[in-house]
């Protein structure tokens, strides 16, 4: 039990590692930034991997480039701007929120809203009024008589 607790405690430590230790920056904070940024950049020669995951040469070159820019003092946004200026928004794994991507980001929420609204009205509906035929006059008189005189 204590081993489990200890293990859980150790799990809390943040991961600090780079795809290749020889690429790593000295400064752990900078290295952590580099990892985060790399995870958000697409490897262009692989399909659907980040440059952090990929073994491709271009991915390695871009990883080194990212670290170079960080070491040179760029902020995270500046590093991303540097890469997108050369490769376009396509290289970002998370599309920026722009006019061209507005529908993408807002879409799922809109669908949920529409579905929830539809369900709300659906749940609140009353039974269809003609599901039960209204009583005729004769039937109503009979009903009144039965109610007044149960015997």
């Amino acid at each position: 039990m204590t081993r489990l607790a200890l293990a859980l405690l150790l799990f809390a430590a943040p991961a600090l590692a780079a795809p290749d230790p020889r690429e790593m920056l000295e400064n752990p904070a900078q290295e952590a930034r580099a990892r985060e940024i790399s995870k958000g950049l697409r490897c262009l020669v692989c399909q659907n991997q980040s440059i952090d995951d990929s073994n491709a040469e271009l991915a390695r070159d871009l990883r080194l480039l990212v670290r170079e820019r960080i070491a040179a003092g760029d902020s995270d946004d500046q590093v991303l701007a540097f890469v997108t200026r050369r490769y376009g928004d396509y290289v970002l794994l998370t599309p920026p929120f722009k006019a061209s991507t507005a529908l993408l980001w807002v879409g799922p929420g809109l669908v949920l809203l529409a579905a929830a609204t539809g369900a709300f009205f659906y749940l609140r509906r009353r039974p269809a009024p003609d599901s039960v035929a209204p009583l005729s006059d004769a039937e109503r008189k009979r009903l009144a008589k039965l109610l007044d005189d149960p015997a």
Partner: protein
């Protein structure tokens, strides 16, 4: 042999056309006059299945014998490939996997023919006719654009070999299960179309369709889980789900299929949600078809996608439009006439299932938007963007949160009008345990919030399921085993979800370490010490490998066990794959990967992950599938069992 296969396929195509038309006419003529025509349905289905089976066997035989005169084999196989992978390579390419699809389709028709004896003749005939139409479409597609039996002259000496990533035991099972699930939803689709044609959706329809949906759903669950597990241990990134377009293509039918499963229960029990269930049945299979289109048309960018051919893309698009369009046209025309019978208060089991539908359908929409947006953005806006995992996690997970919260509550609610306060009261213990997990987790993990929330959610679902079944069986084991299997199935499936949720959350605590090690040096990840011994060379049947020897040490430096991650080089495809070494004790996976080797120093880059609770992800999926099996075995779904003579009327339990 290949010609036999080709001929069998063509015959199957002709039979499928017959199956599409004859039973349909028979069904319109009615039970008496159309009886003979309707009987052609099962006959066609059976023989079609036989023919496709022969064709599939012929292709597999060509692979087994490395018959390189068959173009498909020459392009995708190699004589040095291990025998198992020669066989499973049959479906590791576009044409072969398409033939597998067709085999499954034919299998579904045959299953309906064999096990659908409890169905009214007209319904069965309509269902078989619709299945026949779908089969016709796919057989035509195969025969006209993707014939696996084409010969090549001159016969090459050697094949081009299969992608080494696919030479793996996981591949043996992933596509068959996945396709069985995909294609299985065609039966629900056919049932929906048949119901629309007849203009009638009633409780009995709900009861008949449910086992087919259950079967497809549980197979798809297993197929997706296998794919994810395979990606985890084969691709070497330590991840298990990448929101890759092809993965999403399998996930969308699963989400809608789950909604369909639950919706069909309402139709069966209360004759409500008819329109929704029919629509879900049509859309689930539509998602399967969409998935086929996305993977094979070249429209999407993916690791999984088969080689693109625009001609095929257009054909599948046509197939898609005809099939889905046909279903949706039927829906637009006939569904407005469907009237619900059972009315229910918003707070009720039905109401909870409506919420379930809303959330699952919206989640499916979120995945669909993310997957398809790049195409539409490129076409309509000229913008080239990538939609990566962050988008999906940001939109999908928030929709799952209310679902997870509502799940145990919904399972406690009664039909028509439920006592919400009462249900919540009975769940107090589950809430307390979940809260405890949350508090302890936050404290221990130092504010790694999301995974802790996931663990709390898993505890909530698990405890809620236990409380529900405990309450229903009044905590008596003898009463438990006598509960309807469907109730047990529900509990087991929900517990499976809890287990998977826990596994996914556990991965949120994963730790990683990379080091360049010389022999004798050690590295440490999350308290585990690993010593690197060196790199050796090894030889496989069609590859050469570099193998690292790692020893995992006890705190006192004695050896606990060894791990041997490898890098394999396949000369015929000039590809290198990483074989991660995984050591699991069910509570955590130790995952080691060999990176670059520096021969001069006999050193190597070693990357080790500690993945807490990783196996739970796939164990949970298996448990979910077992829940499905349990539900399937419910005696009320005993489909096709020969009618036995009973001594007297047997009272059916009022449910």
């Amino acid at each position: 042999m290949a010609e036999l296969g080709h001929f069998a396929l063509a015959l199957a195509g002709a039979l499928a056309i017959a199956q599409s038309i004859l039973p349909l006419i028979g069904a319109r003529l009615g039970e008496v006059r159309g009886a003979a025509l309707m009987q052609t349905g099962p006959a066609c289905a059976g023989v079609t299945f036989l023919c496709v089976g022969i064709a599939f066997g012929a292709l597999m035989h060509a692979y087994a014998t490395s018959d390189f005169s068959v173009a498909n084999v020459a392009q995708n196989s190699h004589s040095l490939k291990p025998f198992l992978y020669k066989l499973t390579g049959t479906w590791g390419n576009h044409e072969g996997s398409l033939l597998l699809w067709v085999l499954m389709l034919a299998g579904c028709s045959a299953a309906v023919a064999a096990f659908g004896n409890n169905l009214p003749a007209v319904l069965r005939a309509d269902v078989l006719a619709v299945l026949g139409m779908i089969a016709t479409g796919f057989l035509l597609f195969t025969l006209l654009t993707s014939n696996p039996f084409e010969r090549v002259f001159p016969v090459p000496e050697e094949g081009r070999d299969l992608n080494p990533l696919l030479q793996d035991p996981g591949l043996a099972f992933h596509p068959p299960f996945l396709y069985a699930g995909y294609v299985g939803f065609s039966v629900a689709f056919a049932f929906a179309c048949a119901a629309l044609i007849e203009g009638r959706v009633d409780a009995t329809w709900g009861r008949w369709v449910r086992p087919w949906v259950l079967a497809a759903w549980l197979l798809l669950t297993l197929g997706i889980a296998l794919g994810s597990w395979w990606a985890y241990y084969e691709l070497g990134w330590g991840g298990y789900w990448f929101w890759d377009p092809v993965e999403n293509s399998s996930f969308m039918p699963w989400l809608l299929g789950t909604a369909l499963l639950h919706s069909a229960i309402v139709v069966e029990k209360r004759e409500a949600l008819k329109v929704w269930t029919i629509l879900l049945a049509i859309l689930s299979f539509s998602m399967s078809l969409l998935g086929t289109f996305l993977v094979r048309s070249g429209v999407l960018n993916s690791v999984h996608a088969f080689a693109a051919d625009p001609r095929r893309g257009v054909f599948i698009l046509g197939l898609l439009v005809v099939a889905i369009g046909g279903g949706l046209a039927l829906f637009a025309w006939r569904a407005p006439a469907l009237q619900p019978k059972g009315f229910f208060a918003p707070i009720s089991r039905e109401g909870a299932l409506v919420l379930n539908n809303v959330l699952l359908a919206s989640a499916c929409a979120a995945v669909a938007i993310g997957t398809l947006y790049p195409i539409f953005a490129d076409l309509l806006l000229g913008a080239r963007i990538t939609v990566g995992p962050t988008f999906f996690n940001a939109t999908f997970l928030p929709m799952m949160a209310p679902l997870v919260l509502a799940l145990p509550v919904g399972a406690m609610l009664s039909w028509k009008r439920a006592d919400l306060a009462g249900a919540l009261q009975r769940l107090w213990l589950a809430a307390a345990i979940a809260a405890a997990v949350l508090v302890v987790g936050l404290f221990v993990s130092g504010l790694n919030v999301l995974p802790v929330l996931g663990l709390a959610a898993a505890a909530w679902i698990f405890c809620g399921a236990v409380i529900e079944i405990g309450g229903r069986s009044r905590w008596s084991l003898s009463r438990l085993v006598r509960l309807p299997r469907a109730a047990i199935g529900m509990t087991v499936a929900h517990i499976g979800l809890a287990v998977s949720t826990a596994g996914i959350s556990g991965m949120g605590f994963a730790a990683e370490q990379i080091a360049l090690l010389r022999p004798g040096e050690t590295m440490e990840v999350s308290g585990t010490i690993i010593r690197f011994e060196g790199v050796t060379r090894a030889q496989g049947p069609n590859y050469t490998a570099e193998r690292a020897q790692l020893e995992v040490l006890n705190p006192d430096r004695t050896v606990r066990f060894a791990m041997q991650p490898e890098k394999r080089f396949f000369p015929s495809q000039r590809m290198t794959t990483t074989e991660a070494a995984i050591h699991t004790n069910i509570m955590r996976d130790l995952y080691a990967v060999l990176g670059d080797v520096v021969p001069e120093q006999n050193a190597a880059v070693i990357r080790v992950h500690v993945n807490p609770m990783a196996p739970w992800i796939w164990i949970g999926a298996v448990v979910m599938a077992l829940g499905g099996v349990a539900s399937l075995s419910d005696r009320r779904h005993r489909v096709g069992a020969p009618a036995r003579r009973r001594a007297g009327p047997v009272p059916a339990p009022a449910e």
